[in-house]
């Protein structure tokens, strides 16, 4: 191949602004306006990559998003982008470009030898050969030899990708003649328009093909139309690929920026979509049709007219249609010797001076090593060439239409699938809709906005009009040599034939078996040739074979663009305590618990020792704990008492104002869903205190029952969890500390007994004091406006000093509650645990009224005697704690079976021995029994005991 830059021409480039970059370490010269591909061609670089499987040398094939071969890794100041298509990335000064899957360079690749073994490496070779003993033994080495670009594992975003949500009346995808006509029509009708194009400049085919619109040269019409749209305030997005079309007209687009900014993701929801996505030229099947120097005829014309690059000197053009003649003539006019090999009998009337036409002929094979050097025709003649241009017809870019569930129709006239029945809200225009001439494209564009278009006349093509006259030129299953169907996935006609022989006759199976149509280009150039070949082999029509499913993305999209700001700590943001800074100052080590970032333990020392120390000291004098995450959902209204009776397993309406009651909420299937304390403030006002991690779910459940069963007027529900901080004082000396806070509430046990509340004030703010306990010691939960909590916490710590108060993290609290046998829902219960499994059978047997889950408690399963029930487990003296998750096991009929499992297990520093909770089959009736407990193959003995291991009489609650 002897591509070179001409001394003149090239509408996209600015010869006054030269630039240079490196490719595989060598310097490449170019101009502003070059793509990486055009600069590589201009410098005569024939081999730009190695193929995925066989490491065949490959050159540039196309000039846009369809490019299957020229994938490169691009390093710039903005970072490294793997697998970029050289045809769509603008060349910039100083970037480092490397070929993919080649080492050390694309030109001299040490794995090139693989190709000599190609006949032993057909489709599915790896699957078949490396099955025994285990594919995973071979996978790393095979993956290292195959594959594409290299991901920068140290990559960090310098800047977060923007994500834009946008609404408009009409979104036009594709700024070729049809798209421009559509945008102009919608804009003229007074609608807001977004016009997006994946190229750097609008114009589509008018940028490199001759055309005349309304008496104006095509490119001038493009500039004028764009200027008019911009002037009217319409949004033009260049280098923006619409890659996904989703339900209800949502279109996702990825916009690249030339200035190194990360890509922007657009989510546009137009009232109408116009798809003017064009068509992609197909390769022509002949042996060795993948050699560097064989490229799309249309791409060659584009490089000539847009970049002033002549792709070869001795050129053969292989075609089955009229569209290849403009490139042929143009290249001849630029100084190349051009021969057209046209498979059609009639030859072509357009053939003009300078080009030779061989009508009724086809190429059967190309020859050459790292570049094409000659072609063999079906009549046995050979031609020496340095470049072969191919045009096997045009495949409409129906991807987005198909993503919208649009049905395709086969057109014999175009030898392609085009959109069939149209879909509401979506118009198609131009080549994607099957138009050939400029006039048709413009007319279809102007009509595509439908009700959103203007009634004024469509722009008209006024010059010579394009024709197509395409005939079938599909791969021949009996052809000799290696005819490449899919360049990027290294699939040949023989692979398709093999797949069919092995009965993979569905296109979806063909794709997965041979990888035809996979990888980054998703078969944009190869799919139709592949399925036409399959149709021929299996004796079916192409329409009958059908296409594989088109799925987003149309072109590769960086994860950074899809993620936007949702990364690192923003990926799943944690909820934070109002007093986080104070806890940090006190040395708290934070962990996430149920979505909340909470102190795990304090002091920053060794975790185990710190936690044990907190748990021990909490029992000795007094402990302070931030329980702000506890749910505080207010239930207010005339039927509030009736409502909580229905919601809870326990009767709640008998609760006296000013008091609290512990209870369970069940699911409708009778399983314990949440537990907690219900506070009754007055006749019609309750506070549901639910588990910290369950607040949203409990709130949603309350709302559902309220709206569905009770009605809006009966009760009102307000989640006030985040509005209050709840600070807890617990321990034998808790009352003295709370008294010192001077809250103005009577704290004697007659005025404020266990499970009662009192109102007080702190520094002018109302506080609510609740005597409820999760530690088993006398406790006061003091709730205060979240924004005033800091002073109260400081005061508590100050008053606590005299009592050697300890700060409790969540880990030590877990020990304290486990010592008492207090459960955590979801940890000490599972998806089968009913309230009577937890020792609370009263309401089940006694309650008359209806409540959530009631009927389920009396099903066959609910009545079963073999249920797993909550128990404590004691280990032998001196032994270590059981593993949480260890299974109780027993032998029955000679087989080991599980009889339940350990749910919580800790070393209790106060008791000086381990404590454990477990769900054990018939456990409630088995206290005193010793069972086997197995974990990771080790079997230990444990004795079933009551869940409460510490102060079973509950004296300390009142001490």
């Amino acid at each position: 191949m002897s591509a070179s830059r001409l001394t003149t021409g090239g509408s996209d480039i600015d010869r006054g602004r030269p630039l240079s970059f490196t490719f595989d370490g060598s310097r490449v010269e170019g101009f502003a306006g070059d793509t990486i591909a055009s600069a590589l061609l201009a410098s005569g670089q024939a081999v730009v990559g190695r193929s995925f499987k066989y490491h065949r040398p490959r050159g540039i094939w196309g000039s846009g998003v369809e490019e299957p071969n020229a994938l490169v890794d691009v390093e710039s100041a903005a970072g490294r982008v793997p697998n970029a298509r050289a045809t769509t990335v603008q060349a910039t000064d100083g970037i480092r470009v490397t070929s993919v899957n080649a080492s050390p360079t694309a030109e001299n690749d040490r794995n090139a030898v693989l190709d000599r073994f190609a006949r032993f490496l057909p489709a599915a070779f790896y699957y078949k050969t490396f099955m025994w003993p285990d594919w995973h033994l071979f996978e790393p080495r095979i993956r290292a030899m195959a594959g594409l670009g290299i991901v920068d594992s140290d990559w960090k975003p310098r800047q977060v990708s923007d994500q834009v949500n946008h609404h408009c009346d009409v979104l036009v995808v594709g700024a070729g003649p049809a798209g421009l006509a559509a945008a102009a029509s919608a804009a003229a009708a007074g609608h807001s328009v977004v016009l997006a194009d994946d190229g750097a400049h609008p114009g589509g085919s008018l940028r490199h093909r001759v055309g005349e619109v309304d008496g104006v040269e095509g490119r001038a019409w493009v500039e004028a139309t764009v200027a008019r749209l911009k002037g009217a305030g319409q949004l033009m997005l260049s280098e923006t690929a619409a890659f996904g079309l989703y339900d209800h007209n949502l279109v996702a687009l990825n916009q690249r920026h030339a200035d190194g900014r990360p890509d922007t993701l657009w989510r546009v929801r137009p009232r109408r979509i116009v798809l003017a996505t064009g068509a992609i030229e197909r390769p022509v099947p002949f042996a060795n049709n993948d050699l560097p120097g064989i490229l799309s005829a249309d791409a060659a014309l584009s490089y000539l007219r847009r970049h002033g690059v002549l792709v070869g000197r001795e050129i053969v053009v292989a075609t089955n249609n009229d569209s290849a003649y403009e490139p042929a003539s143009a290249l001849a006019a630029a100084g190349a010797s051009v021969t057209v090999v046209d498979c059609r009998r009639a030859g072509d009337a357009q053939a003009k001076g300078g080009i030779r036409v061989l009508a009724g002929r086809t190429i059967t094979a190309a020859r050459g090593r790292n570049a094409v050097q000659g072609v063999l025709l079906d009549d046995g003649t050979t031609l020496g060439v340095d470049c072969v241009l191919v045009s096997g017809g045009w495949t409409p870019t129906v991807h987005l239409f198909s993503q919208a569930k649009g049905k395709l129709a086969w057109s014999d006239q175009l030898a392609a699938f085009i959109p069939g029945e149209l879909i509401d809200g979506i118009g198609v225009a131009g080549a994607v809709a099957g138009t050939v001439s400029l006039s048709e494209a413009l007319a279809s564009g102007a009509a595509a906005p439908g009700d959103f278009g203007s009634s004024s006349a469509a722009p008209r093509g006024t010059g010579a009009e394009a024709t197509l006259g395409v005939v079938s030129l599909w791969p021949n299953p009996k052809a000799k040599g290696r005819v490449w169907i899919d360049y990027q996935s290294d699939v040949t006609a023989k692979d398709v034939e093999l797949a069919a022989r092995e009965n993979f006759v569905s296109v979806e199976h063909l794709k997965r078996y041979t990888t035809l149509g996979m990888a980054t280009d998703q078969g944009k150039t190869s799919n139709l040739n592949g399925l036409a070949l399959l149709a021929d082999i299996t004796g079916r029509g192409i329409a009958e074979v059908g296409t594989t499913t088109y799925r987003p993305p149309f072109t590769p999209v960086p994860f950074a663009s899809l993620a936007g700001s949702r990364r690192a700590s923003m990926h799943a943001p944690v909820r934070r305590l109002p007093l986080e800074a104070n806890h940090r100052a006190a040395g708290a080590v934070f962990q996430e618990y149920g979505g909340w970032l909470r102190p795990a333990y304090y002091g920053g020392g060794e975790a185990g020792a710190s936690i044990e120390d907190e748990a021990r000291r909490a029992r000795q004098s007094v402990a302070l704990f931030d329980g702000s995450t506890l749910g505080k959902i207010e239930v207010v209204g005339p039927r509030a008492a009736e409502f909580v009776d229905f919601i809870y397993y326990n009767t709640m309406s008998t609760l006296k104002p000013g008091h609290c009651r512990y209870g369970f909420m069940l699911s409708e299937n009778g399983v314990v869903f949440d537990d907690g304390v219900l506070v009754r403030l007055d006749e019609h006002r309750f506070i549901v205190s639910c588990s910290s991690s369950h607040v949203a779910a409990v709130h949603a459940r309350l709302e559902e029952w309220r709206q569905d069963r009770f009605g809006r007027e009966a009760v009102y529900i307000h989640n006030a969890t985040a509005q209050y901080a709840t600070l807890t004082v617990s321990g034998p000396n808790a009352r003295q500390v709370v008294e010192a806070l001077d809250l103005g509430a009577a704290l004697d046990d007659a005025s404020l007994p266990h499970m009662a509340i009192a109102a007080g004030r702190f520094a002018g703010d109302e506080v609510r004091i609740a005597r409820v306990s999760f530690t088993g010691d006398r406790s006061y939960e003091i709730s205060i406006r979240a924004d005033r909590a800091e002073a109260l916490w400081a005061r508590m710590r100050q008053e606590g000093r005299a009592f050697d108060a300890v700060l409790l993290g969540l880990e030590s609290l877990m020990i304290l509650r486990a010592e008492k046998g207090y459960i955590v829902i979801g940890k000490d219960t599972d998806g089968t645990t009913m309230p009577h499994d937890l020792g609370v059978a009263g309401p089940r047997t006694k309650r008359a009224g209806e409540f959530v889950g009631k009927r389920s408690l009396f099903t066959e399963a609910g009545n079963s005697a073999d249920r797993n029930q909550l128990v404590g487990l004691a280990v032998r003296e001196g032994e270590a704690p059981l593993a949480t998750g260890a299974h109780g096991v027993e032998k029955r009929d000679g087989r080991l079976r599980s009889i339940g499992f350990v749910t919580s297990s800790y070393q209790s520093p106060t008791l000086g021995r381990p404590v454990a909770l477990a769900l054990i089959e018939r456990g409630a009736a088995r206290h005193g029994e010793t069972i086997d407990v197995q974990h990771l193959g080790v079997v230990r003995q444990a004795t079933i005991v009551a869940p409460c291991a510490f102060d079973p009489e509950g004296r300390r609650l009142h001490a």
Binding site: D247, Q707, E850, R855
Partner: protein, 89 residues
Amino acid sequence: MQLFPCPFCGPREESEFHYGGEAGNLRPDGSEVTAERWAGYLHMRDNPKGPTREIWVHLTCGEFFAMSRDSVNHKVSGSTALGEAERGA
């Protein structure tokens, strides 16, 4: 990404909603309900192909409502607040 019409807030993206079950699955009250009837309420669903009426909750406003839509072509024909007449999508 579908657009659902919240009867209170208007059209919003589907990620703002949670599915609440098929509409018309009335809860049988009382201890006398047969096991079959109760199991039907808990577990048996029609899962229709085509037109369907469902309960959804709009998480951002907290309101449950009934929505009529087509499970095949995803066309939404309307929604109602619980206990109100259907309004157009």
